[in-house]
Amino acid sequence: MSLLRVLGRVAGVVGVLWGAATLTFIAQQLMPTDPAQTILGGAGAKPSPEQIAAVNAQYGFDRAVLVQYLDYLGGLLRGDLGTSYIRKQPVTDIIGQQIGSTVTLTITALLAAWFIAVAVTLVTAHRNRSVAALGSGLETLLAALPQYWLGIVLLVVFAFHLHVLPVVGDGGFEGLVLPALTLALPLAGFLGQVTRDEFSSAMEQPFAVSARARGMSDFGVRWRHALRHAVLPGLTLSGWALGSLFSTAVIVESVFVRPGLGRVLVDAVASHDMPVVVGVTLLVAAVYVIANLLVRVAFVRADPRLRSA
């Protein structure tokens, strides 16, 4: 891909991030509750006007909107996501403390989902009616499961009844299994459907016949030809999948009482702690667009269809 093209795409990414930052800034401005009130103790507190004025001056809420906006953008470029209204800590610190756990969970879940989706597709796709229907039905079922319910069920079965895995993770690998599985299974259902459609379609194409005509076995065609086609759309969805996993990690961490960004986010939403909410949101957006960009650049040579998108 030419350098100009890559630069163009990077510019696009920067544009989207700038747009996301602007959107979240507008969201903060539109809030009905007064941020100063929140900082000073929430709805129950009754701060004096002097206290409010002091907070406004300290946080800069009394300046013109445009000035606040530019200041906000400047902060973002420096890596400063603001200060939490409730915890009074820089948002970057709060995120930094919790992000490791969430990232581990998300990456593990993505890999697991991939593995399951591809395995189910390889085994059940494009075979006789009942096997294919079984695989397809399994994927539909998995995709329809709400994460938190699945998490609870897995917890009950494996932790409470079978005592195979711990109830509350201690940060080790065993504590990762159930939460990762909870995240991975519904995603595997969705990815599996996409992969399976592409796989079946590829097996029907003339190049599959050409391969058989050279003396390749059916399994060979699946493994060496169709598989590559099948994983492509799923891989290009990786960016989206990461974003989606991050957000559902919120729920899963709550179910398994696992430390991470999820807990932080839910508390922040409940207490109107906008800087934290916005900070996490922007972080996820950045992950999403950067992952998308990397996928595009990596695969554009392999799949000409991506070129025009």
Binding site: G19, L30, P146, I152, V255, L265
Partner: protein, 288 residues
């Protein structure tokens, strides 16, 4: 010639001809289930005699029995009754959120598709930005701004899915606009207004029917997720997600607290997915 053309068309494209009148149990079951849930939402008192708020401490945390089909919760409330009454809020939020999202999607999508380069460019960039933020996070952002509540939940869930729908609508409108039959209509001398009404709108909307059906399932799951996190409907209102949240602490001993509301949610989601797939096949003309 004796060759059945429809068969030949389908064989060549690798599709399977299914007899339109064949017995397809999954679709019937799905439709029946959804009808039941709808009935629960509209006339809950026809299905259960009690109230979802009646407490009975004596009978707390009892398993399923003849008196309490789904068991009781920590305050002795009958779970079956609460599931039945809970259908209303889940269905309400699910349907309302999807409808709202679709309305926004149609407005933005058609504006972008039909509106010319500048309009399309502006709306596309805006949608790209919104799409960079995962749906659930957008919903959470909205709730962080305006606090929990039914109306907020509806708007939040709608916001989460609207951008994706809008992108699809835009794609459809552009595809139809560039199709040969629109070109043929132009060549016949029809006015643009007539072409939009007769060709663009109906054909661009067709896949949305499927999307909407499956979208209701997703909205129900999201709404219940928000309640599960404590950010949705306030307890003790009967709402499936809230019930799952409340039952978490007792799950090791009272499994029925989690099972039945969860089955209700999953049942709805599966049912709409099955129906959506069926509709998709119908609309794409795979059935003769």
């Amino acid at each position: 010639m004796a060759v059945n053309v429809a068969d030949a068309v389908a064989m060549r494209s690798g599709l399977q001809i299914r007899d339109a009148h064949a017995f397809r149990p999954t679709v019937y079951v799905a439709a029946l289930f959804l009808a039941l849930v709808l009935a629960w939402a509209v006339v809950p008192s026809a299905f259960t005699s009690g109230s979802p708020f009646d407490t009975d401490i004596e009978a707390a945390l009892r398993g399923p029995s003849l008196d309490h089909w789904f068991g009781t919760d920590a305050s002795g409330r009958d779970i079956y009754t609460r599931v039945v009454f809970g259908a209303r809020s889940s269905l309400l939020i699910g349907v309302a959120a999807t409808a709202l999202a679709l309305l926004a999607a149609i407005a933005f999508g058609f504006a972008a598709g039909l509106g010319g380069r500048i309009c399309d460019g502006a709306i596309s960039r805006f949608l790209e930005v919104v799409l960079a933020l995962p749906g659930l996070l957008l919903a959470l952002l909205f709730i962080a701004m305006f606090g929990p509540g039914v109306a907020t939940e509806i708007v939040a869930v709608a916001i989460g899915s609207a951008a994706g729908y809008a992108w699809m609508v835009r794609g459809q409108v552009i595809a139809v606009k560039g199709s040969d039959y629109v070109s043929a209509a132009t060549a016949l001398g029809h006015e643009p207004r007539r072409i939009v009404a007769q060709h663009v709108f109906p054909n661009a909307m067709r896949p949305l029917v499927v999307l909407a059906t499956m979208g209701v399932g997703q909205s129900i799951v999201w709404a219940s997720s928000l309640s599960f996190l404590g950010l949705g409907v306030a307890p003790p209102a009967p709402e499936w997600g809230a019930m799952l949240d409340a039952g978490r602490d007792f799950v090791s001993t009272a499994w029925w607290l989690e099972l039945f509301p969860g089955l209700a949610i999953i049942g709805c989601t599966l049912a709409v997915t099955v129906l959506g797939r069926y509709l998709q096949q119908r609309l794409e003309g795979r059935l003769t």
